[in-house]
C-alpha cells in the first residue's frame, strides 16, 4: 500500500470509528463521562492514547469476565486491556502471510468508537433505568450489552477487530496465557519463554508447587 494511502487511512480513522459505533444505545452521542475528561479526540497512535472511561469499563468487566477471576484478577485483566489499548497503533503493518508479496495493514482506530460505546452505556442506563451502570445487576448489564453487541460470529477473533468494547475486553482476556491456564487448571504458561526443561512433563495443576 502506498504510504500516502496509509497516511490517509490514519487521518480518517476517527471519522470511520465514530461512525461505526455499534450498540451504544439510541442516545449514544459520545457525551463525555465524568471519568474520561482527558480523552483524546485525535487519531490514535502509541504517542496519543485514547483513554477509555475507566469506571464504566470496570463495570462492564464485572459483567463479561469470569467471576472466578475475583476482584483482583479482574482488575489485572482490565489493566492489561487498558495498557494494550493505550499502545495500539491503528493502520500498522501486519505480519504477512506465507508467500504473499503484498503488504497488509491493520484497520482504523477502534478506540474512539469503544470510548463512545462506554459513554453511551452510562447515558442509556441513566436514561432508561435512572441508575449508573454500576447500579445494575450483572445479569441486567449483560442484557444491555448483548443488545449493543448485536450480531457476532461464534469466534472471539482479535480484540482489534471487535465491534464492541465488551467483546474486545473479552477477546483480550481469553487470548491471554492466564485464561488458558484457567481453562485447563494447569500451568501451561503459553508463549512465556519457559525454557526447555519441563516441556516433557504434564503441566502442573494450578497452585501446585513447581
Amino acid at each position: 500500500m502506498p504510504e500516502t494511502r496509509r497516511s490517509f487511512l490514519k487521518q480518517s480513522v476517527a471519522t470511520v470509528a465514530a461512525a461505526s459505533v455499534a450498540g451504544c444505545g439510541p442516545d449514544g452521542d459520545g457525551t463525555r463521562g465524568a471519568d474520561d475528561a482527558g480523552a483524546a479526540q485525535t487519531v490514535g497512535s502509541r504517542a496519543e492514547p485514547i483513554p477509555l472511561p475507566a469506571r464504566t469499563l470496570r463495570d462492564v468487566a464485572e459483567a463479561v469476565l469470569p467471576a472466578e477471576l475475583g476482584g483482583e484478577g479482574r482488575e489485572r485483566a482490565v489493566n492489561a486491556f487498558e495498557r494494550w489499548s493505550d499502545e495500539l497503533e491503528p493502520v500498522a503493518e501486519l505480519a504477512h502471510p506465507y508467500l504473499v508479496p503484498e503488504t497488509r495493514y491493520s484497520g482504523p482506530d477502534p478506540r474512539p468508537g469503544w470510548a463512545a460505546q462506554l459513554r453511551g452505556l452510562e447515558k442509556e442506563c441513566r436514561a432508561r433505568h435512572g441508575t449508573p451502570l454500576a447500579g445494575m445487576e450483572v445479569a441486567d448489564r449483560r442484557k444491555l450489552l448483548a443488545r449493543g453487541v448485536g450480531q457476532t460470529g461464534p469466534g472471539l477473533g482479535s480484540p482489534t477487530n471487535a465491534n464492541h468494547v465488551a467483546v474486545a475486553l473479552v477477546a483480550h482476556f481469553f487470548a491471554s496465557p492466564v485464561a488458558t491456564d484457567m481453562c485447563y487448571r494447569r500451568t501451561i504458561a503459553r508463549q512465556q519463554c519457559r525454557g526447555l526443561d519441563g516441556a516433557a512433563t504434564e503441566p502442573a495443576a494450578l497452585g501446585a508447587a513447581q
Binding site: A95, H96, T152, G155, V170, T180, M182, L196
Partner: protein, 530 residues
C-alpha cells in the same frame, strides 16, 4: 559518475544462501567478498523482544522494513528484501530431501533425475547443519539417512507430542522429532531455545538467522556488506561472455549509480529474484537474458502442495505447551517400489482448533464470562485435536515460468517478476490418487487412536518454491551445472533455491543451503586458499 566497489567475489543478495557461501569462502580462501543487498537491516536481536510482544498483542510485522514497496512481483513469492532474507521470518524447520527426490525418473518414471545424488549432497547437508546449528533426532535410517549425528540433540518432545507419538507408534508409522535450526545447547555464541513459541521471531537468538553469520563476518572484516543497493543488471566484459560488473543503484541516491566489479559473481537472490536479474540483464549478445542461451532461465518453477487436516483424539492434551515443535515422518517419502507414484511427508502438531474459547455456543447463544469459560472447559475436557499435514511434490512443467512483467514496473522502470506456476501433466493426473492416499493415511492414524478426521483440505500453494535456474549436465535443459556455475558464463554462479530440479516433499531451506555450499566449494577452487 559511478561509485565503484571492487572485490574478488560479489554476492548478490544477503539471505541464508549468501551467508553460507560467504562463510565458507571467508574460512577457506583469502578472497575479498562483497555482499550487495537491495534491502536493509531489520530488527536486531536486541529489538526482537519488543517486536515479538507487538506481534503477539497486535499481529504486527516483527521485522520492520523487511521489503521494498515497489519491488513486488506477481504470483506466489516471498516479499522479503532484507539483510537475512526470508530466513529472518522462518520457523527453522530443516529436514533433508529424501534420496528418492534425486532419482524420480529412474525410480518411478516421473519427473526428472537430478545430475547429483543424495550421496553427493550429503556432506554438504551435514556442513549446512553444522553452520546453522541443527537440533535433530535420527529417524529410521532407511528413511532418514545421514552419515553423522546432528550437531545438537533434538528439541524435547513436549508432553503433548509424547502422547501423540505413543499413538503414531501404535499405528506403526514411524514419527520422530522435526529437525530444527534452534539451539538445544549453547552454539556458536547463541542462546538455548527458551520455548517462547513464537519462532517466526525468536527473542533469544536460539533460532538461526543469517544476520548472525553476516555480523560475525563483518566483525572479522571478512566481508563488505553493501545495503540499500539494488542490482539492476549484470554486464559482460567486452568481447567475452564473462561477467564484468553488477550495475546497481543506491536507493538513497538513485541518481548516483554503483558499479560492483569482481572476478566471480554469485547470484543468491532466492527463487524469484535470481531468474529475474538474469532476465533483466539481457544485452545484444544475450538478447533473452544472461545464462539463457537455451531459454531455460525462469522455467521449471516448482514447489510442493499439501493436504492437511485435523484429527480428533480421545486423549487429554494441553495446547500451548510447545506449539512450535512437531513430529515428522518421511516413511512415505521413501516408500520403496510403487504401483502408482505417490510420495509425501507427514507432520503432526498439537492444536486448539475446534477447542478455542468462543463467544457463542452451538445454539448461537451469546456467552459471557463464566459461560465462556464453562463452554471452553467442556470442549477441552475429554478430547484433543491434532493438526496433520502432508507435503507432496509437484512435478514441474517447462512452462511453469517466471517472466518479466512489463505491466508492473518499479520506480526505476524495471519490469517486476511474474510467476505463473504450472504442474506437469503427470502431476495433475496423479493429484486425485495422491489426495486419496494421503487422506487414507490420515484416516488410518485416526482410527488407530479411536478418533476421527474432522476436516481436511488441499492446497495448491507452491510452498518452499524454487527453480528457474535448475542444475543439469545438459545445457539444453538446464541453466547451471551441478556446481551452480552457469553454462554460459564461467564466472557467474547461481546458488540455492533457483537451482533445484524438483522440490521434494520436505521444507527446502536446508537443501538450498547444501547446494550453495557445494557451489561454494567450486567457487573457492578459483580463489587463493588460506
Amino acid at each position: 559518475m559511478s561509485r565503484v566497489i571492487e572485490s574478488d567475489v560479489c554476492i548478490v543478495g544477503a539471505g541464508i544462501t549468501a551467508a553460507m557461501v560467504a562463510e565458507r569462502l571467508a574460512e577457506r580462501t583469502s578472497a575479498s567478498i562483497t555482499i550487495v543487498e537491495a534491502g536493509q537491516r531489520t530488527a536486531s536481536l536486541a529489538e526482537r523482544t519488543r517486536t515479538r510482544a507487538r506481534m503477539l498483542a497486535y499481529g504486527e510485522n516483527p521485522y520492520p522494513n523487511d521489503h521494498i514497496p515497489d519491488q513486488t512481483g506477481t504470483g506466489e513469492m516471498y516479499r522479503h528484501m532484507v539483510v537475512g532474507g526470508s530466513a529472518m521470518h522462518w520457523g527453522g524447520a530443516i529436514p533433508r530431501y529424501s534420496p528418492e527426490d534425486f532419482r524420480l525418473r529412474s525410480l518411478y518414471g516421473v519427473g526428472f533425475d537430478w545430475p547429483i545424488s543424495f550421496d553427493d549432497l550429503e556432506p554438504y547437508y551435514q556442513e549446512a547443519e553444522e553452520r546453522i546449528g541443527a537440533a535433530g533426532e535420527q529417524g529410521p535410517p532407511d528413511c532418514d539417512p545421514r552419515s553423522k549425528p546432528y550437531p545438537m540433540p533434538p528439541l524435547p518432545l513436549s508432553y503433548n507430542l509424547a502422547r501423540m507419538r505413543e499413538w503414531t507408534d501404535s499405528a506403526e508409522i514411524p514419527f520422530w522429532t522435526q529437525p530444527w535450526a534452534r539451539n538445544t545447547e549453547p552454539y556458536r555464541g547463541r542462546n538455548v531455545c527458551q520455548r517462547c513459541d513464537t519462532c517466526a521471531v525468536c527473542p533469544t537468538g536460539a533460532k538461526y538467522t543469517p544476520d548472525f553469520a553476516l555480523d560475525r563476518l563483518l566483525a572479522e572484516n571478512r566481508i563488505d556488506l553493501v545495503t540499500r543497493t539494488l542490482v539492476r543488471r549484470l554486464t559482460l566484459e567486452p568481447g567475452t561472455d564473462r561477467i564484468a560488473a553488477a550495475e546497481a543503484v543506491n536507493r538513497d541516491a538513485p541518481a548516483e549509480p554503483v558499479e560492483l566489479r569482481a572476478g566471480t559473481f554469485v547470484i543468491a537472490g532466492g527463487h524469484a529474484w535470481s531468474s529475474h536479474l538474469l532476465l533483466l540483464s539481457a544485452n545484444s549478445r544475450f538478447p533473452d537474458g544472461l545464462a539463457n542461451r537455451t531459454g531455460n532461465v525462469g522455467r521449471y518453477m516448482t514447489g510442493h502442495w499439501y493436504v492437511s487436516g485435523y484429527i480428533e483424539l480421545p486423549m487429554r492434551l494441553y495446547p500451548g505447551v510447545f506449539v512450535n515443535n512437531s513430529l515428522l515422518s518421511h516413511r512415505f517419502a521413501s516408500p520403496g517400489p510403487l504401483e502408482r507414484y505417490v510420495r509425501h511427508d507427514l507432520r503432526l502438531w498439537e492444536s486448539d482448533v475446534g477447542r478455542a474459547p468462543r463467544l457463542q455456543n452451538g445454539d448461537g447463544r451469546l456467552l459471557w464470562g463464566d459461560e465462556i469459560m464453562a463452554d471452553w472447559r467442556e470442549r477441552t475436557a475429554s478430547g484433543a485435536t491434532a493438526r496433520i499435514r502432508a507435503y507432496y511434490d509437484v512435478l514441474p512443467d517447462r512452462d511453469s515460468r517466471l517472466t518479466l512483467d512489463n505491466e508492473n514496473t518499479n520506480a526505476l522502470g524495471d519490469p517486476m517478476p511474474r510467476i505463473d506456476y504450472r504442474p506437469a501433466r503427470a502431476s495433475l493426473d496423479l493429484e486425485a490418487h495422491t489426495h486419496d492416499t494421503i487422506r487414507g493415511r490420515f484416516e488410518h492414524l485416526a482410527r488407530t487412536a479411536g478418533g476421527s478426521v474432522t476436516s481436511t483440505r488441499s492446497s495448491r500453494l507452491y510452498e518452499h518454491p524454487g527453480g528457474g535456474c535448475r542444475i543439469g549436465d545438459d545445457p539444453e535443459t538446464s541453466v547451471v551445472d551441478r556446481w551452480g556455475r552457469t553454462h554460459d558464463h564461467e564466472n557467474l554462479f547461481v546458488v540455492g533455491a533457483p537451482t533445484i530440479v524438483s522440490s521434494g516433499c520436505a521444507n527446502g531451506t536446508l537443501t538450498f543451503c547444501a547446494l550453495s555450499l557445494m557451489s561454494a566449494e567450486e567457487i573457492g577452487k578459483g580463489l587463493s586458499q588460506t
